[in-house]
Symmetry: C2
């Protein structure tokens, strides 16, 4: 019989594939919560692996072929790397005889990953996941145990996932101090396109537009407003290209909605009508002030 | 002979017209620096005036007709209010006999204000100014003495300004801990359009686009990226409408450059070419990372 607390997670060997900001922070958060019997790490970059071992972020550096030697496998790479890993798991499993492995990923887009998870051979119990947090710096050297604390952690279960797999994922979310939110992959991707992927494209387009201005004093004048609006442009390129490629339809929809509003503002500024401008800006101001106080 | 330090400013009665976030913060910063013999405040809102007197932010509440009874007059209202005040000064001066008043403003756009300053009757020694700082909250209750510290404070002198007026403005900038930068009004307005006014329009358009999504979980998923990219949408409406109306040409130019980049990203996302996307995003990432470390 299970003891109270995080008992099932406590008995798992957890293997984290991808020791970047997310994977490294997850390892640190699990350690801080004393969750997981052992934490193994896999990464194609020997420097990241060495750092993780030296800093005791993981118990053991493993290679991809040993990923099934665990109870809980977590894929924490950029989306297209996760898709390749899921493909590799299909061949690995052919040679393996073991009980079912609970599989979770931390990829930024979910529809393509969950579709690939559905096609895995038996022996996997897969759940999609996406912690809604990040920093504009990447790499395990920027990992921190508190990255997930009080953040939303979306779960997008596959149709084949057992209730035990979902419960284990929720146990992990509780252990790292995040808040679970269960959504369909399509709903996650539509919401993430508007709340995260569109703001990234906006920030990158702002940086490119600013670089067309031939006046170095521009950067002297760029104060906190510019700094905040452009922040996401510094995000990790591989991660962002993968997002743009694997959530195209939803991102193009969000960009279309945004461009309509932008063009409306251009029309209103051209017309120079203070009342019409004020009426268009007021709902944006009200909602922003309501959402984030201070 | 002047003593060392802020001696000329120290002997001035300073009148600040407009006790909002900027005017209130300026009064507090001058007080903290023991600059200004006396600080008088003028505001059409009796509550702001009463607050300023109660909190000892100013020495004396005055009305607009007494604004010439000083050595240093500072207009700290939204741009179109400053333009009205400059117009009023034209009639006030007809009835006054006094030595020259140094006039500085803190308005967010400079071309129209400096043009109006050039037309003032004799007796004014006017310099345009714009401290590059702010908060997304407004009002004197949010004023703080450190608002200007280490921030760029643009000066856009009129052609008629004496070197003494420019020196006094620079003395004020030193007293409040800001860094002076002298620019032409047109250059200021072009740079502010790209670095500040465009990011505001982007943030407002993002909030409006997000509000077209009929799913309340959007706000649960909106994490730090959305929060930062949308922050400027909460700015004071009157201030922002005045900016959009008095810097139209430069803002429309910045919006045009931005829209070109945005449309380019839409094309690249539609084409789904990872190398082309990466090549377009990389310069934005490099420059952002170079500009703001951490």
């Amino acid at each position: 019989m299970d003891e109270p607390g995080f008992t099932r997670l406590a008995r798992c060997r957890v293997v984290i594939v991808g020791l970047g900001l997310m994977g490294g922070s997850l390892a640190l958060a699990l350690r801080a919560a004393k969750a997981g019997r052992e934490i193994w790490g896999v990464d194609s970059d020997p420097a990241a692996l060495a750092f993780a071992v030296e800093q005791s972020i993981i118990d053991c550096a493993a290679d991809f072929d040993s990923v099934l030697n665990c109870e809980f496998l977590i894929l924490a790479a950029p989306v297209r790397a996760i898709l390749s890993q899921l493909h590799r798991l299909t061949s690995v499993i052919r040679h393996a005889k073991r009980p079912s492995v609970t599989l979770l990923d931390l990829g930024s887009t979910k529809s393509k990953i969950v579709a690939a998870m559905e096609k895995l051979p038996p022996g996997f119990d897969p759940v999609g996941g996406h912690p809604m947090c990040g920093k504009e710096v990447s790499g395990i050297e920027n990992a921190e145990a508190n990255l997930f604390r009080d953040k939303t952690f979306v779960l997008t279960p596959t149709k084949r996932a057992s209730s035990a797999a979902l419960a284990l994922a929720q146990e992990l979310i509780a252990a790292i101090g995040a808040r679970p939110l269960i959504l369909s992959p399509e709903r996650h991707d539509a919401l993430a396109a508007m709340s995260s992927h569109l703001p990234y494209v906006m920030a990158a387009a702002l940086m490119r537009a600013a670089q067309t201005v031939d006046d170095d004093q521009l950067w002297t004048l760029a104060a906190s407003g510019f700094r905040d609006t452009s922040r996401l442009a510094a995000s990790d390129l591989t991660m962002m290209v993968d997002i743009l490629l694997t959530n195209r339809a939803a991102i193009l929809d969000a960009l279309g909605r945004y461009r309509t509003e932008l063009d409306w503002f251009i029309t209103l500024i051209e017309a120079a009508d203070p009342e019409a401008l004020s009426a268009a800006l007021a709902p944006a101001q009200r909602k922003r002030a309501e959402l984030f106080r201070g």
